[in-house]
Subunit: 376 residues, 2 copies
């Protein structure tokens, strides 16, 4: 049960609005990642304060701990974690391939051993839908096969075929009211991407994701694949580019008609001491911040930037205080939400191109601060 409406377009860029069981989401949106039922270091109230309207959690992790039946008994994931807003759950396919010890993949499903205790499990398309329904996800994802980059053509072909087969079974298994998204695969082969998109759209699903990108391939390749796939997806359904997190990639994909994004970048980089600011990236441990009484990002009005100096933030990281990773995470999640609201406003005003040129003229993707990394 969901509605998705395109409110405005600006060339291919789209301004949209979801109504989901747990609330409204404005697109283009960036979904912070809360893998295990927590956006790392942040309270749900803090996540909401950043402006985030939807987060991504993970089926694989929550199935293992605390278990989907336990979450269901608690009233569903959104209530369990005190978020009380929309949640998209990834199917766990990616984690089965990347994190667990994968023992066997057949058309039946993916057999794996838990990365926690080595216990054996089988993810079938049907089970993955059942788990996400028990979690009460606002948006559930089909089980897919996501090959690494680079991958040879026969493997990519097989993954496309299996992903289609599994999507069909996921669609058949779902309860009425489950908002199930398909995932387009095809690695970096244009014809396989097109084949996957055409096959999945036949299932008439409420939304489509583009998976298997942002895995290390050149940006031009990413954008080329996104452009080809987006052109084949129905214009009235949301489009979700999985794993895209760099601001320049998000802007490029919005330009190609993508509506939804998720990435661990703001949270993971925040924890390890890298902040995203208007001019690029800041490595807060750098000794050049030791006596800097200025804000992390003077253009930002998040709690971190309003309340603390770079000197203090650096101190927290240097001495290993948990508050440091938390304050940088909060800022980064805020930064990405501000980016998305900037994008939405620009589309609404029909000025996305000039807005993004202006943003990118200030923001230097590769810009890490000068000077030696220095922990003393």
């Amino acid at each position: 049960m969901m509605t998705f409406a395109i409110l405005k377009t600006d060339s291919l860029a789209r301004l949209g609005r979801f109504e989901l069981p747990h609330g409204v989401v404005h697109t283009p949106c960036f979904m912070p990642v809360g893998t295990q039922g927590s956006v790392k270091t942040l309270t749900p109230a803090e996540v909401a304060e950043t402006g985030a309207e939807i987060i991504v959690c993970n089926t694989y992790h929550l199935y293992l701990r605390p278990g989907h039946r336990r979450v269901q008994a608690a009233g569903g994931l959104s209530k369990f974690m005190g978020w009380n807003r929309p949640i998209l759950t990834d199917s766990g396919g990616f984690q089965v391939y990347s994190l667990a010890a994968l023992t066997r993949v057949t058309d039946d499903g993916a057999e794996f051993q838990s990365h926690i205790d080595g216990s054996r499990h089988l993810f079938t398309p049907e089970l993955v839908v059942e788990i996400q329904e028990a979690l009460g996800s606002d948006i559930a994802m089909c089980l897919d096969e996501c090959p690494p980059y680079p991958v040879n053509r026969p493997v990519a072909e097989a993954a496309v075929a299996r992903t289609s087969l599994w999507a069909d079974r996921c669609g058949a298994a779902r309860q009425p009211g489950t908002n199930l998204f398909g995932i387009v695969q095809g690695a970096t082969y244009p014809d396989l991407r097109e084949q996957s998109a055409k096959s999945l759209t036949k299932l008439d699903l409420p939304g489509y994701a583009i998976g298997g990108l942002c895995l290390g391939e050149p940006s031009e390749v990413t954008y080329d694949m996104v452009a080809r796939v987006a052109a084949l997806l129905p214009t009235d359904r949301p489009r979700y580019l999985m794993g895209a997190g760099y601001p320049e990639d998000i802007i490029a994909a919005v330009r190609l008609g993508v509506d939804m994004f998720d990435c661990v970048l703001p949270t993971r980089n925040g924890r390890t001491g890298t902040a995203f600011i208007s001019e690029g990236r800041v490595a807060i441990r750098n000794s050049r911040h030791a006596d800097d009484q200025g804000a992390l990002d003077p253009a930002c009005d998040c709690y971190t930037c309003r309340s603390f100096s770079r000197a203090y933030l650096r101190h927290l990281f240097v001495v290993g205080e948990a508050l440091g990773p938390k304050l940088l995470t909060l800022h980064n999640v805020w930064f990405f939400q501000r980016l998305m609201s900037g994008i939405r406003t620009a589309i609404e005003q029909g000025g996305f191109e000039s807005w993004s040129s202006e943003f990118l003229s200030r923001y230097r993707p590769g810009a890490e601060p000068a000077g030696q990394e220095n922990d003393r």
Copy 2:
């Protein structure tokens, strides 16, 4: 520069009010510990929301990192850490003895090697005052010699003598306006405690602490020492029992006329998964909480208890999410502030004895939850 007024007494228990450079503090008070310039896992805004009006930071740690001159250049510690309220700094004497590699103690001072990089330093009474003045502490503590428990009489005697000598030098070194507290030592020897108290009160300092207790000695011994010392301290000066943190110890010491407390208990136990609640202590990892949809403490209105179930809090600890330690720390600090406000209200109403009987009839100091600790 401070004023301290006793507003009300109830037998020996005292209701008081500080005016300090960074704000007002109501006593009896519990000071959360922010050793390195951060109450671990909490933002200053969260610490303030618990009702805490003053925190304790540490001279030893801040001298080593980021350095007191750096903090001074940033406008003082309270501003540097975004707290903007009163701070008491411990002298670092305790840390030099317990944490650093102590190389030599003479009447001149304590020579030690940093626990971080092995660098050599000498803490003299004069330097310790100078550091605390640079930090801009609302209350500075004298350098003292704090022997462990148990300790033989000659060592305890020498520590009393040196503590007096150093207090004298701290007093002479301080700038006008520095609120310097003396620290009574004497281990568990009644006559040495009395000798130390008499010697220090001759210095006419604005406040006095009782150090060298809560180090593992029986509670009856602690209370006996506190009673003897408190009887000798001037009634118009604040009294601070260093390191006392168990609710039953705080209540016992308030009954003996103590005004100020600090301890790592709420923060450290919160990080490791133990919560203080109205009935005693809860080990949140225990499997009996796995499906408990109730609040950690139904009688508590902190953010943690208002927003999350025991089942979710347990999940966070079991999977190792940073939000777990933070939410339990927040609750524990809140619990201790609620304890202190209960104590203050009871004294104000002249009902401290009945209030504390009632509190202690519910609260079981030793009560850990039944059942096996179970992380699965």
